[in-house]
């Protein structure tokens, strides 16, 4: 099996390494992914698509609607895939924008089968999107996406900036990339905005973002492309079987914090490169194995023959943080 250190890093990859080097190796160097998709990832992705489409319609006058395209499968059989058609639409029409967002959410959720014990079914996610726009009405929630140097509005902004370290094989600078939900003017400043769907919003929900590397990395990346951010506005929507709730947190990122994040990130990537050169990825065997409902690789790690588990319940899919597409490795 050919393995290669990733050319592009992001907060997910670096976070995986920090929690457990073996988890990073299996998931992002060997690219093992579970065959069955996580309901949290799928439902969260559909919700994010709904928000993106609604915001683009409202602030940029671009309506994105789902269309089915006929394709040939890798086996040569006729098949279908969902693509998105872009058309112009009236600016500032909240009802239309919400409707387009709702259509996008349902299309993105597709025919995914939600587990019985999960609250994140298609209808509950649709309800969550309606609740979100009732709580944070488009154009009337105090946040307006900034206009980027390209003239586009700051909805779903991507960046990929070089780090000071080189790739061990290609010699190219390693890139650090990210994608924000929104960069918006808010309360006299410019803030990043991130939407989180969750099962519950406890008393400590808002405190977890103050040192979160994901947001510090976004501030570093946007600073590099000439868009300094004061911090982040994080909006959480809890989706339970019987009700919704929301909380909003504001977290700041002064320059000294961004500098410390960069120093820490470089030190972490140097550790990753050292492990890659040594070919040894230390398993942590501790709290990370059970955090967030349990590590994906818990079962392979509990087996003396992890390859049996990997070959049966996993497949190799390479995720590109730049194109945001996954490619199945045959």
């Amino acid at each position: 099996m050919m393995i290669q250190f990733p050319e592009v890093l992001d907060s997910t990859l670096i976070g995986a390494y920090k929690s457990c080097p073996r988890k990073f190796f299996l998931g992002h160097v060997e690219h093992w992914k579970p065959k069955s998709q996580s309901v949290h990832l799928h439902a969260g992705g559909a919700f994010a698509k709904g928000l993106e489409v609604a915001r683009n319609a409202f602030f940029s006058g671009v309506a994105e609607t789902p269309v089915r395209e006929t394709i040939l499968t890798p086996e040569g059989a006729p098949g279908f895939r969902l693509t998105w058609k872009h058309q112009s639409c009236p600016l500032g029409d909240a009802a239309l924008s919400e409707a387009l967002g709702m259509g996008a959410l349902l299309a993105a959720y597709g025919d995914f089968q939600c587990p019985e014990d999960s609250a994140k079914s298609a209808s509950r996610m649709a309800g969550a999107l309606e609740y979100y726009f009732d709580s944070y009405p488009l154009g009337a929630d105090g946040m307006e996406p900034i206009v980027l140097p390209s003239g586009k509005r700051g909805v779903e902004i991507s960046f990929a900036e070089p780090l000071e370290l080189l790739h061990p094989e290609t010699g190219n600078p390693l890139l650090y990339c990210g994608r924000l939900d929104m960069a918006a003017s808010y309360a006299g400043g410019v803030y990043g905005e991130d939407d989180k769907t969750t099962s519950s919003l406890g008393a400590s929900w808002s405190k977890q973002w103050d040192l979160r590397s994901q947001f510090t990395g976004y501030c570093w990346g946007l600073g590099k492309i000439g868009i300094p951010l004061q911090g982040f506005v994080v909006r959480g929507v809890s989706i339970l079987k019987t009700k919704y709730d929301t909380q909003m947190a504001i977290t700041y990122r002064p320059q000294w914090m961004i500098d410390q994040w960069y120093e820490m990130t470089i030190a972490t990537v140097k550790d990753m490169l050292r492990d890659y050169a040594a070919g040894y990825w230390k398993p942590v065997f501790d709290q990370a194995c059970t955090d967030y409902g349990g590590c994906t690789f818990r079962q392979p790690c509990m087996s003396p023959q992890p390859d049996d588990w990997l070959n049966t319940y996993f497949e190799r899919r390479v995720w590109s943080p730049l194109t945001r597409e996954e490619t199945l490795v045959p």
């Binding site: 089915r68 259509g103 079914s121």
Partner: protein
């Protein structure tokens, strides 16, 4: 969410996956979900008021008779 609306959403979801959901359908989804949520919220609020009212109203005669007066 009422079972009727959840079932209706399943139909729209299938249409969306086929790329056949019209903008009018999309508007209807939002309207129905919003209406259902607001109705549920009002109904819960009214139930709570009724419970409170039952507790608050007490007959003075009953209270006096309980004391044997």
């Amino acid at each position: 969410m009422s079972p009727d609306i959840a079932s209706q959403i399943s139909t729209w979801r299938a249409k969306a996956a086929e790329g056949e959901l019209s903008v009018e359908d999309m508007r209807k989804v939002v309207e129905l979900i919003r209406g259902d949520r607001k109705t549920a919220a009002t109904s819960i609020s009214e139930k709570a008021k009724k419970v409170r009212a039952k507790k608050e109203i007490k007959s003075a005669d009953d209270m006096l008779s309980e004391l044997g007066l």
